[in-house]
């Protein structure tokens, strides 16, 4: 069980959260101008690194707010937690 530090509520158990997948995927500004390949990339293609991964979580059974987490996908260590709209802290990871 992960212990996730919600940036609003502090550290809580994983069962209070849901993972929302990769973070920082911007919705295209001009959707009508996209090619099919660009749509596929936006909708389906995902980073899936073995290493530090930027992902979104929501504190479903708490403050119900979304936030960003940088977590290592092998050690499960949470490297950083930051609020939506904030820049990720520099940790040298992509």
């Amino acid at each position: 069980m992960l212990r996730i530090p919600c940036p609003w509520c502090g550290p809580r158990e994983e069962i209070e959260f849901h993972c929302g997948g990769q973070a920082h995927i911007a919705r295209p500004c001009d959707p009508a101008a996209l090619t099919a390949a660009e749509w596929a990339d936006y909708l389906f293609m995902r980073d899936n690194p073995k290493g530090v991964f930027a992902e979104r979580w929501v504190h479903s059974a708490g403050c119900r707010r979304w936030f960003n987490v940088r977590r290592h996908t092998v050690t499960h260590e949470i490297v950083a937690v930051y609020r939506i709209g904030e820049q990720p802290p520099p940790d040298g990871a992509s």
Partner: protein
């Protein structure tokens, strides 16, 4: 060597000291016509059918660990073909038919046991989806049918079919030809068959890079040096994205832990495979007597081959709800595998934008059942450089064209 009752008797007389090794352990050659990355069931089956059906024997299977040590050895061994859509039904039924002759084909007992698979329904949505799936299966010639609650109780008497359950069993689909198989034996049988036809199986050989010349693949960098290849086929389950990235490709995959566990062994008590997608557990009893129990993936990306305990807690609660008789069983061990989950819960068996690079991935939570069929059509794809009609719909291009094959319902495992 040919296995037979005679060979068992002869080796028994000599204390079983003279059984030959089942496959060689060769050093890698500098170059192969085809290099298959991943020595699990799907990779080994691909190599076997490349050699047997297409006469391509200058093939290496590279495995970073030991054969079948990934998801092949970590799944709950369920085999069925009761998928909803025509494309999936054809692919999984092709596989099931290969399963039915596999022990004879390989002269290797894969212990395929067609004990029947129940997919329970616990609410009206489940009932509608289950009936629809069973009817779709029948139209595709698959032996699936609908059972009402009394019918379920008859097939599986120890199942709690009382209406007082929080989520009562309202019915079930039933595929009698579904069942379980011995997972290790599948990998070993294909390895032995491929090796006998000249395929080099190279264990402890991790691929660290994919070399390209322009848009054509030329070989792989490995922990045992560069190995040239005319064609490279990636069959690496949870690590597919990592390998594809070495060739500059992005895939629509997310790698997640999928956990399973077994109980202490008991006498035969559960004679079918029982799956519940709604309260979420699936269980069968192995020939050793252990209950083999699985459920959904952990929600986060991971390559750690372990997951969170609350997932196990949830599936055990579901198990006890459905089978009160199991409440005092002790659990022996649990483990996790890393499954590569696709957005439409269907696999990718496909050419790629890189010439000579092929991928077989995205099986997510349900790859074991497809092992023979997957290898069979993937070998065709590699040998002919074009998909077999059965895997043409399962191309990487479907994410661009939009022709997704949504099997989240039939996958019966929460993603």
């Amino acid at each position: 060597m040919k296995y037979s009752a005679f060979s068992i008797a002869r080796n028994a007389l000599t204390g079983h000291r003279h059984w030959p090794r089942q496959w060689r352990s060769p050093a890698p050659q500098p170059r192969y016509d085809v290099v298959i990355v991943g020595g699990g069931g799907h990779g080994l089956a691909s190599a076997y059918y490349l050699a047997k059906e297409h006469g391509i024997t200058n093939v290496a299977v590279l495995e970073k660990g030991w054969l079948g040590g990934g998801n092949t050895g970590r799944n709950t061994t369920i085999v069925r073909s009761n998928y909803l859509l025509d494309e999936s039904a054809a692919l999984y039924e092709h596989s099931l038919q290969l399963w039915e002759g596999l022990s004879r084909e390989l002269n290797y007992n894969v212990m395929f046991s067609q004990r029947g698979v129940l997919n329970l329904a616990h609410n009206t949505g489940d009932v509608r989806a289950g009936r629809r799936r069973a009817e779709a299966n029948r139209l595709n010639g698959i032996d699936s049918h609908w059972l009402d609650t009394a019918g379920v109780a008859k097939v599986c008497p120890i199942l709690n079919t009382s209406p007082s359950l929080r989520y009562p069993v309202l019915g079930s689909t039933f595929q009698p030809r579904g069942g379980v198989a011995r997972h290790d034996a599948v990998a070993w049988g294909y390895a032995r068959g491929a090796d006998a036809r000249g395929v080099d199986i190279i264990q402890n050989c991790e691929v660290t890079g994919i070399r390209r010349d322009g848009n054509a693949v030329t070989g792989v960098e490995t922990s045992r040096g560069f190995i040239g290849a005319g064609k490279v086929a990636l069959v690496a389950a949870g690590h597919s994205s990592v390998l594809a990235a070495m060739a500059g490709l992005r895939l629509p995959l997310a790698s997640h832990p999928l956990q399973a566990l077994v109980s202490e062994p008991v006498k035969p008590v559960l004679h079918n495979v029982v799956m519940s997608g709604a309260i979420h557990v699936y269980v069968s009893q192995s020939d050793k007597g252990e209950l083999v129990i699985g459920a959904g993936i952990d929600g986060y990306n991971s390559y750690a081959q372990r997951g969170s305990f609350h997932v196990i807690e949830g599936q055990m609660a579901a198990l006890i709800e459905l089978f009160p008789i199991f409440s005092r069983l002790r659990m022996l061990r649990s483990w996790g595998g890393i499954v590569d989950v696709c957005p439409d819960a269907s696999p990718i068996i496909s050419k790629t934008p890189v010439d000579g690079l092929y991928i077989n991935a995205g099986w997510g939570t349900g790859g074991f059942k497809a092992t023979p069929g997957s290898g069979h059509v993937f070998a065709h794809t590699i040998a002919r450089d074009e998909p077999h009609p059965l895997n043409a719909p399962f191309s990487l291009a479907r994410f661009t064209s939009g022709a997704l094959i949504d099997e989240h319902g039939a996958a019966a495992v929460a993603h």
